[in-house]
Symmetry: C2
Subunit: 342 residues, 2 copies
Amino acid sequence: MIIDCHGHFTTAPKALGEWRERQIRAFGEGVRVRPDELEITDGEIREAVGDGQLRLQNERGTDLTVFSPGAGKMAHHHGDERTSLDWSRVANDLIGRVCGLFPDRFAGVCQLPQSPGGALETSIRNSVEELERCVEDLGFVGCLLNPDPSDGFYQAPPLTDKVYYPLYEKMVELDVPAMIHVAMSRNDALQGTCAHYLAGDTAAFMQLCTSNLFEDFPELRLVIPHGGGAVPYHWGRYRGFMQDKGLPPLEEAVLGNVFFDTCVYHRRGLELLLDVVPAENVLFASEMIGAVRGVDPETGRNFDDVKFLLDGIDMTDVDREAVYGGNAQRVFSRLKSRGVAK
Amino acid sequence: MIIDCHGHFTTAPKALGEWRERQIRAFGEGVRVRPDELEITDGEIREAVGDGQLRLQNERGTDLTVFSPGAGKMAHHHGDERTSLDWSRVANDLIGRVCGLFPDRFAGVCQLPQSPGGALETSIRNSVEELERCVEDLGFVGCLLNPDPSDGFYQAPPLTDKVYYPLYEKMVELDVPAMIHVAMSRNDALQGTCAHYLAGDTAAFMQLCTSNLFEDFPELRLVIPHGGGAVPYHWGRYRGFMQDKGLPPLEEAVLGNVFFDTCVYHRRGLELLLDVVPAENVLFASEMIGAVRGVDPETGRNFDDVKFLLDGIDMTDVDREAVYGGNAQRVFSRLKSRGVAK
């Protein structure tokens, strides 16, 4: 079974974005837009995924996509905690409907109603409730955790700060992982998909390396997307840093709890990822339909057709099974109770 | 001739750091510490590099190091423009003395008196003057340009902003490149050497990709250190992004002006760098003595003995000559007038 652990609903019906724009505008005017003001029909949902994700799943041979709201569009800096909570419910409910319509092809991952600055702590308490709702009521299998709800200015404490602990307690209780994923960048110095995303991944990994988080939560599972940002390319730097500081080796310090996806859009990058990171820590993903949509003239295939690239890389059968789906079933363990495990 | 294009004076005599601490403390008390209050003898300088950089140059077979003040210690957020200017002069003068004592082994690169926030513009004007002083009076061959003088919060405009243009004009006039290098991080969420450094490299590359800077300055040369941050590992993402946006291919858009160093501390990372980036854009460097100081148990050699790692990688003779020194002589073109070119 081939599981793409990183897909966003970037093709959502236009009404979703319009609702969000009205919500942001209304907040500026001191009013709220109600979540139930959004109207999207099942037909519109079928159309939105039918010619997008579903078609590509079929063409590329992916069985299931772990599916979340558009990451950039989480844009946690807007409004207040209530803004973020309403928006998360709206976005997550829509993911829930996609998964309800196509239960064999999509498993839900929710965005969390995070907020930056003084609202962080309250927003994490709200996130605990929203996570519980999404997992228990909507059957979701994980969440997206944004390490920078300021959206490009890195003003939150590290993810290892105690302010996040109620969320980690709930994740462990529900047995769900988080994918650590920044949202948009509103910082002109940090372009979104090719700078902020990778910076966020790299920063988060280092936060994890230099903390005791996994002593406090030995069961916690975190996925770092985009092939781990800069991390595998600089694996020697991280190994050397840990050794210099008298910290345990990376394998011991983080690889029991931290996983990387394969959203790396060229063969050489994927080969490096698979060479330096143990196969049991790598999860197939394509970020589809996502950051890069065109066809690579060097391969004649879409840049984000990662399955095609991985198919061309030498791996043992055991490793391939793990990377293509086995690891995802272990990390997103609720996939099993959803009945999608083989 | 083997040229390490990225070395910092991390082993500077203690008096330097003590002067800087007094300067920062004094600023808080509304007074200034004079640059001439720093006293360091030639003997102390000889000792500081003799058992450090010089010994390692000899052991590892490096002829010349392009040498700059400690990057983290630039810490541009402290004090005001004058603080940064005094500190830059002190730090650069010391580099000038190292180069004066060992002219065949070190060529100077200066730190710039940048400052964040409202002081940015004035600080860039000061940087123009300090660059001119260092190149014309001290014989330096380049400068370090910090894309984030806020030291970890990314509050400056992109490096392509017109505020930096007077500096680029002077660089072109003097025919010197800049290495784009952040300083310390004072942000708990962004560890310095393994997160902020790589995030800064990656962010800067993306700023360059999405601008017309090199149309305005076709002669400008910029080196992105630490193997280009996350960039070569995600080469496909960048190629795809440029194509999606209708921008020219990377080769055309930036590779006439942008170069990567080899500060990547494991063989697999270096292989990837050399596979995806044309050899003429890669400059040997080890960041020695720098971020990672220990011995890699997998090789029995220091993590930052990049020369040893590169020696073990297949390259044509032409590429090896370019990467080991030829490119550095082209990019840091003033090395030639210093008489160190072969």
